[in-house]
């Protein structure tokens, strides 16, 4: 009888899993519109090859995405390294599958410290300058910005006024607008806003690229293999039409690349909120 109930529960669970579409959630690097238009082509491409509907799910907060993933409400996610490390630390079902290349084909990216070209920075005269950050769990957020400020200016981020703005492009624009003197963003975002006078002060070494992470508890091995095979065999002329972050190619994710960064994440105690409203 017990076995029968177990089988029934398992079947019910499979029916439930099959009943809903696959859920894809990207990190909110920019606004909804932009994120949607960047990822939709890839989603459609995957839908076509998987033969299943994939629903787009937008969340503003990194930690919400991590939580939903842990709750098996997200099947596929697009993460930068740090959120993945945070997720993987508590949820072993998260598996990095594909890493997206940066412009020029590099298998990783850099975080940069940016400022508006029209602004002059004198850290000695403004020790509590305002710093714009993405999110606590963002790789280019607190951890790498703190590192870059220390390395370039010899100053501690914790002694400055910092605030989490959520998205990379929002950090870039807030610096251009003059709301913040400096900010930490992904290098490609800094380049994107260079035409508005955003300039890079300093950058980190190469970090593991943004990664497509799958939920091994909601997806079958066959589905995971199909996703991997589909994306890795996507013709260049196809992925070049996808969103900017996805258009420079892909390779299979290497979990060991995240180890070094795991050490950084453990080293710093990331404050969940900024000290500046």
């Amino acid at each position: 009888m017990k076995s029968f109930v177990m089988v029934l529960l398992l079947l019910s669970s499979m029916v439930w899993v099959d009943a809903r579409p696959l859920i894809f959630a990207p990190l909110p690097l920019s606004n909804t519109q932009r994120v949607f238009e960047d990822f939709s082509p890839m989603i459609h491409y995957l839908e076509k090859h998987l033969g299943e509907r994939i629903e787009f799910h937008y969340e503003k907060q990194y930690d919400t995405i991590v939580r939903l993933f842990q709750e098996n409400k997200i099947d596929i996610a697009y993460f930068d390294p740090l959120p993945f490390i945070a997720l993987h630390k508590t949820f072993q079902g998260a598996k990095p599958l594909i890493t997206f290349h940066e412009s020029g084909g590099t298998h990783g990216y850099r975080c940069v410290l940016v400022k508006f070209a029209g602004d002059k920075i004198d850290v000695n005269h403004s020790p509590r300058m305002k710093v714009a950050l993405t999110q606590p769990l963002s790789t280019c957020g607190y951890i790498k910005t703190k590192f870059l400020l220390k390395e370039y200016y010899g100053k501690e981020l914790d002694n400055m006024l910092f605030s989490y703005l959520g998205k990379h492009d929002e950090v870039a624009l807030s610096v251009i607008r003059g709301d913040f003197l400096v900010g930490g963003v992904k290098e490609s975002v800094a380049h994107e806003y260079a035409t508005l006078g955003l300039e890079i002060i300093t950058s980190t070494k190469m970090l593991p690229g943004f990664t497509l992470v799958v939920n091994t508890q909601t997806l079958t091995q066959a589905q995971i293999e199909t996703i991997k095979h589909t994306l890795l065999s996507t013709p260049k002329e196809v992925y070049q039409t996808w969103g900017k972050e996805l258009s420079y190619g892909m390779s299979e994710a290497n979990a060991t690349l995240f180890d070094a960064l795991s050490h950084d994440a453990l080293e710093f105690n990331v404050p969940p909120h900024g000290n500046y409203p």
Binding site: E37, L173, E192, A194, L196, L198, G243
Partner: protein, 648 residues
């Protein structure tokens, strides 16, 4: 069967025509309602776009044309790319507070600066995307930067189509570029919803000015319309209002009906305002399409509103009822018409039968009205009276046809009395023909009764003139010789018997002369019987001329004539002398030559006669005896040499 098919066809044609008429009337009434609804949308749309124009122009003058902004644009006009980047950032920094606090609140979707060459300088809605040329694909930017005038209207674009308000920026005569402030349809829709009862609306955009024109990575902003593949709507994942409308059960229902509507694609392609009504069970729906033209005058989109319209159900029911009633009426009329035709056919058949009888009968038939005017005449009557029907219809029969005694008034006319007295009359009357000739007719006049009232008289008559004449001739031939028209033996014997009775009472003498032509057989044999007959006729004429009216000259047959002469007086001698005298006169008259033939065939014949006579004054001798005696006397003459008289 023929009438059934005729009535069925007529019914079908009438029903078809009626239904068509009802349909057109229904369409007309619906069109009035739809036109009103569409007009409301058009007016509201115009009001909203004009309202935005006024607001946005004010913003432009107050916020954009600031000295600091103009200074940045002056510098940008001559800057290199890196300098331009900083100036772009400065402009962004300068305007952003306004953009975030006021323009976005107003519903502005795009705030976009252009260079004087029509390149994108700074898109507030997409700050990272700039430098691309818009002069060739955006008429509004071309017009603003070449013609230096304000442009307002709907237009496609590289990022998103919208309602554009483009103003050229000119400072102290220096052209610094232009600025575009665009509204999303959501803003228009929001304001429209305040004016309209239809709370669901969608912007239906032509593919050519949207997904075909924007940067390829922005194509995801749109999705193919549920109505037509040539139109797109905003992607429901990006537009809260579109999603709300598209997900609305009402919009889904109407879109399904629109998709199934046969002419919807044609209507959509026309680019005109129109409304589509639907009646689905007890619900009435309407979809209003307001055509939006872009700045270059090209049809670009439809503002579509969806709503319930119960009035349509009422109109639909009203005309459905009209169709049902029309069907009942036409069906009943068709059946009625069929029955009328059947009866008419029967009546026509009877009429033809009657007319055939009336026209083919040899009797004349007249129908006269109460005034005595002829209202009908049959062929036989026309033939008898010599009139054409058109000449006699309406003639007053009492004076024109019927011949009366001079004193007979219409009141005493036997024919007219049949009407006034409602009694039939049968008898002989005299009619007058067209030629004036009178004929005797035997007629039967019967009053023509309708609703127990005599409205005329039917006169059936027969011309008996000839018949009557024949009767008289027959009667004449019984007593007269057919050749000479003299009394024959029968009449002679009658008169002789009468004379004998008379002489017996009066004692006056009468006499018989028996005449036999001498050698009559010779002329018959030599000249033929025709000449013989002519001789007999001439003899008869000469006898009549010679004798008195009171004497009877008769022909017994052949060449024998007998003459009864009365009265010859009471004295025998005188009577004898008188008779001799008369006989001698006859002898003399008959001895005169007879002329026959004409011209070269003419000839003369002389013929004598032998005459025997007998006097009588009582009934002592019978008729036969008298005749026998006279015959005997005549034979004595014959034997004695002929051509003489012998009186006994």
């Amino acid at each position: 069967m023929k009438y059934f098919i005729l009535c069925l066809s007529l019914g079908i044609v009438l029903m078809g025509t009626f239904m068509r008429y009802v349909h057109l009337e229904e369409e007309k009434e619906k069109n009035i309602i739809l036109s009103h609804e569409n007009k409301i949308l058009s007016v509201s749309y115009q009001a909203v776009t004009n309202m935005y124009h006024v607001s946005i122009e004010n913003y432009f003058k107050r916020m954009i044309l600031q000295e600091a902004v103009l200074d940045i644009l002056h510098q940008a006009k001559h800057a290199n790319d890196s300098e331009k980047a900083v100036l772009r950032g400065m402009l962004y920094r300068k305007i952003y507070p306004l953009y975030a606090s006021e323009l976005k609140t107003l519903g502005i979707r795009q705030l976009h600066f252009h260079t004087p060459k029509g390149e994108s300088f700074l898109r507030f809605h997409k700050p990272a995307e700039n430098g691309d040329s818009l002069i060739d694909i955006r008429p509004s930017i071309r017009i603003a930067n070449t013609q230096k005038k304000n442009v307002m209207g709907f237009e496609g674009g590289r990022v998103y189509p919208g309602f554009r308000y483009v103003f050229p920026i000119i400072d102290n005569g220096v052209h610094l570029g232009s600025i575009e402030i665009s509204l999303s349809f959501e803003s228009i829709e929001l304001e429209l919803s305040k004016l309209l009862t239809c709370k669901n609306s969608v912007l239906l955009m032509k593919k050519e000015i949207t997904s075909d024109m924007v940067f390829s990575h922005h194509a995801q902003y749109f999705m193919t319309s549920q109505i037509s593949e040539h139109f797109v709507t905003e992607n429901e994942k990006l537009s809260i209002l579109t999603a709300k409308s598209i997900e609305s059960p009402l919009v889904k229902r109407i879109n399904t009906l629109l998709k199934a509507s046969p002419n919807i694609e044609i209507k959509l392609q026309k680019g005109k305002n129109f409304s589509v009504p639907f009646v689905d069970g007890t619900d009435g729906y309407i979809a209003n399409f307001h055509a939006i033209y872009d700045i270059s005058g090209q049809f670009a989109a439809y503002a579509v509103t969806y709503g319930y319209l119960d009035e349509l159900v009422f109109v639909h029911k009203k005309y459905f009822l009209a169709n049902v009633l029309g069907f009942i009426f036409i069906f009943s009329s068709s059946v009625g018409f069929f029955l009328v035709l059947q009866n008419r056919k029967k009546a026509l058949h009877e009429k033809r039968r009657f007319e055939t009888i009336v026209n083919k009968t040899i009797n004349g038939i007249l129908l006269i009205d109460v005034k005595g005017e002829i209202v009908f005449i049959n062929d036989a009557a026309c033939q008898i009276l010599g009139y054409h029907p058109s000449e006699i219809i309406g003639l007053e029969s009492h004076t024109k046809i019927h011949v009366h005694e001079d004193t007979q008034s219409a009141n005493n006319c036997v024919i007219l009395k049949t009407i006034s007295h409602q009694q039939s009359y049968v008898g002989e009357e005299v009619f007058r023909k067209k030629s004036g000739e009178r004929i005797t007719v035997h007629l039967n006049a019967t009053p023509f009764i309708e609703d127990q009232k005599a409205i005329g008289s039917i006169v059936i008559f027969r011309d008996i003139t000839s018949e009557k004449h024949d009767k008289e001739t027959i009667e004449h031939l019984a007593y007269y010789d057919a050749l000479t028209d003299l009394p024959n033996r029968k009449l002679l014997l009658d008169r002789l018997s009468s004379t004998l009775a008379h002489t017996h009472r009066s004692h006056e003498f009468g006499a018989i002369l028996f005449l036999d032509l001498d050698n009559f057989k010779i002329i018959n044999d030599t000249k033929g019987h025709n000449i013989g007959d002519l001789l007999l006729k001439e003899v008869a004429q000469r006898l009549k001329k010679t004798l008195r009216e009171c004497d009877t000259v008769s022909r017994l047959g052949g060449d024998e004539f007998v003459i009864l002469i009365t009265p010859l007086g009471l004295e025998k001698e005188k009577a004898h002398a008188e008779l001799s005298h008369i006989a001698t006169k006859i002898l003399h008259a008959l001895n005169q030559p007879y002329r026959f033939g004409t011209f070269k065939h003419a000839f003369t014949h002389t013929c004598s006669v032998s005459i025997g006579g007998v006097l009588f004054c009582d009934s002592s001798m019978s008729v036969d005896e008298i005749l026998k005696k006279a015959d005997g006397a005549m034979y004595e003459v014959k034997n004695g040499g002929k051509n003489a008289v012998k009186i006994i």
